[in-house]
């Protein structure tokens, strides 16, 4: 580009980024602030996915020398590319967190190639060797937390029927459903999970209808995987069912019905990332972890959770924390009777096979298509 002002800015920012670690280390010497850009696909106060990230961003704001700029409701089109460029060109951002799964390919990849000296941290865990080195994609094994929720749900259900309001039958969602069910069946081998797919990430009326349909089927504990669990939590509580939350802690919405929940712990991870940069360490491009790595956490137990359930859940949690527990441990059959993980095969969290999950385990009522 031959446009003096902008290209000079680019150069400045490029070198700033190159020296990002040292700049942060010797703060006050050179640049005053590092600007971090956060991009959300929905409203950042949705009691769900976006709020979890916004809480992480809020934790960053407390760090000295860090300036956070945020933009919400940015669609997964070239709009996100332009938002990234705008944050870089107009706000001087050098570290970007595009937090929606669908931002990665092609948008984040394109931007990472265009600004090779800036750092991109995408939430989704999608980075592969072919992708630019300045792009990273992190994600959490939130199925561990779902598994704990499942254990609590299995102890708490009276009907033995659990319900799951899900958006789309994609591997991440299926993995949560399966982990939740396996956890529940640990507590109650006869427990079943009925799943309803609403078709999209934010469909309040459908989510409410799904919640009601599930409860009509005799379900008495519900959880979900949609962007904003508020609708499910409130409607289930109104019908007297118990709930396990998702994304963030929803217990303020239904303190009596809230058992526990699977939460992101971005407010622990994001400051950690920035501190790693300060210390001059490279963040691995593919960064993942679960309870042990403090990327996910479990909501505090609600008052309805029995002592027995707490103990069982805490035991398993302790094993996750020490790193010697496998959720997907053969033999596991799907709900059509086919063996999907053979006896003797342990599929640990890092196993790429789990990323391709296209089945629902035995005990789940529902279909993937």
């Amino acid at each position: 580009m031959d446009f003096g002002r902008i290209s000079r800015r680019h150069l400045l920012q490029g070198s700033a980024a190159l020296a990002l670690g040292s700049t942060l280390g010797v703060r006050g010497a050179a640049a005053a602030e590092t600007t971090v850009g956060f991009i959300y696909v929905g409203s950042r106060d949705d009691y769900g996915y976006n709020q979890a990230h916004a809480q992480g961003a809020a934790a960053l704001k407390k760090l000295p020398g860090i300036k956070v700029v945020e933009e919400e409701k940015v669609p997964e089109t070239d709009a996100v590319e332009k938002t990234i460029e705008s944050m870089i060109n107009l706000d001087g951002a050098t570290l970007l967190f595009p937090t929606s799964f669908g931002y990665y390919n092609p948008h984040v990849l394109k931007m990472a190639a265009k600004f090779p000296k800036l750092r991109f941290e995408h939430c989704g865990g999608l980075w592969t060797d072919k992708d630019p080195k300045n792009a990273g994609s992190y994600f959490g094994y939130i199925d561990e937390a779902q598994y704990i929720s499942g254990i609590v749900a299995g102890y708490s259900t009276k009907s033995g029927k659990l319900g799951f309001v899900a958006a789309k039958p994609i591997p991440q969602v299926l993995r949560n459903i399966n982990a939740f069910t396996l956890g529940a069946r640990l507590a109650n081998p006869k427990a079943t999970t009925q799943v309803i797919f609403t078709g999209d990430w934010s469909m309040p009326v459908k989510e409410a209808e799904a919640t009601n349909s599930l409860i009509d089927q005799g379900v008495d504990v519900l959880t979900c995987h949609v962007d904003g669990p508020k609708t499910m939590v409130e409607n289930a509580a109104r019908r007297g069912a118990m709930v396990c939350g998702y994304h963030v802690n929803q217990s303020p919405l239904a303190p009596k019905a809230y058992l526990t929940g699977a939460e992101w712990n971005w407010e622990a991870l994001y400051p950690k990332f920035v501190k790693m940069i300060v210390a001059g360490e490279a963040i691995p491009n593919f960064y993942r972890g679960g309870l042990k790595e403090e990327i996910v956490k479990v909501s505090p137990y609600g008052e309805m959770v029995s002592a027995e359930a707490r103990k069982a859940a805490d035991d398993v949690k302790a094993k996750f924390m020490s790193g010697d527990y496998t959720i997907f441990k053969g033999p596991i059959a799907d709900n059509k009777g086919k063996t999907v993980i053979a006896s003797g095969t342990d599929r640990g969290q890092q196993d790429p096979e789990l990323e391709k999950m296209d089945y629902l385990v035995e005990g789940v009522i529902g279909a993937t298509a």
Binding site: M1, F3, R5, I6, V69, E70, E71, E72, K73, V74, P75, E76, T77, D78, A79, K82, T83, E85, S86, M87, N89, L90, D91, F101, G102, N105, P106, G124, K168, P169, I170, P171, Q172, G199, D200, E355, K356, A369
Partner: protein, 369 residues
Amino acid sequence: MTTEAAESVEAAGVAPAADPGFLQRYGASIEYILIPGAALVGALGVFGGFIALYGKNPLDLYFYMYYGAFGTWFSWQNTLTRAAPLILTALCTALPAQLGMVIIGGEGALLIGALAATSAALALQGAAPIVVQIAMVIAGMIGGGLWITLSGGLRQYRGVNETISSLLLVYIALAVLNHLVEGPMRDPASLNKPSTREIGAANMIGTIPGTDVHWGLVFGLVAAVAAYILIYHTTFGFAARVAGGNIRAAKIVGLSVGKLILTVCFLAGSSAGLAGMIEVAAVQGRTNANLAAGYGFTGILVAFLARQNPLAIIPVAILLGGISASGGLLQRRLGLPDASVLVLQGIIFVFVLASDALYGRIGFLKGKS
């Protein structure tokens, strides 16, 4: 060819002015700039007042709007990128408006066009990129064209109101897209973001040299100029405008209104379908739910603000592209909600519609009438 009176044809449903007097003609041209300009200024004033009530300084608002939309070369590129699809989707409303029809289903035609274009590209894998690209253009235009022709046909042969039917078809198109993308057309490798297979990097249409703006902008400009020539400088366009002014008169002079409706609807849909093809071939590289980003709906606004004139669509699309380009800056610098863009669009729309009443009423521009 048609008389100059055509220049002063009113928006949908109003007969061409009877008297092509010089003063009137001259006055009308000035009116077309003066009245929308005044409406725009009025709308910006009201929006500024609204923002002031919200506790922000309107002058900051205007500055950031200008800065984010047109203040830097980057901002210009951001604006033009966003304007590109709007020109095409606006034509989807503006062309049928010549016949007095209100089509608001451009979003549906865009989605179907994208699906058709993607299908064509996937069917022709291995062919030369230029062949694939041409096939995508044709398929996208036919797909989108037929979708809106459906509304036109229902209106002509069943008397179904085209406004409502085209809108319902948007929801149906979205369901069809989701169904295909998550089912029959799904790329098994698109794990957590259900999508079709990629059309391939070689088949992408890329950006205009020296800029970040993709070729969609040129497609839009060409389509708008072509539509202008079609409407104002061909017999076909003249016939359409006659039919738009008075169906009975059109029948008396022997025009085949049915054929006109179907052809115009096809052309309208094909421009929105082309927008869908461009989103695939220039931005996303495949079809998935991200394509439903609302370009079709904003296009309606563009068409009405341009008073259904294809040439006027170009500056109006750039204006609205600029508003949405500056939206991010308003969030980041002024802390305004993302919906500010919607509010401003709504206010402008209301002002421009209300200003319709002023045409022919401004004293000093009045001719002898």
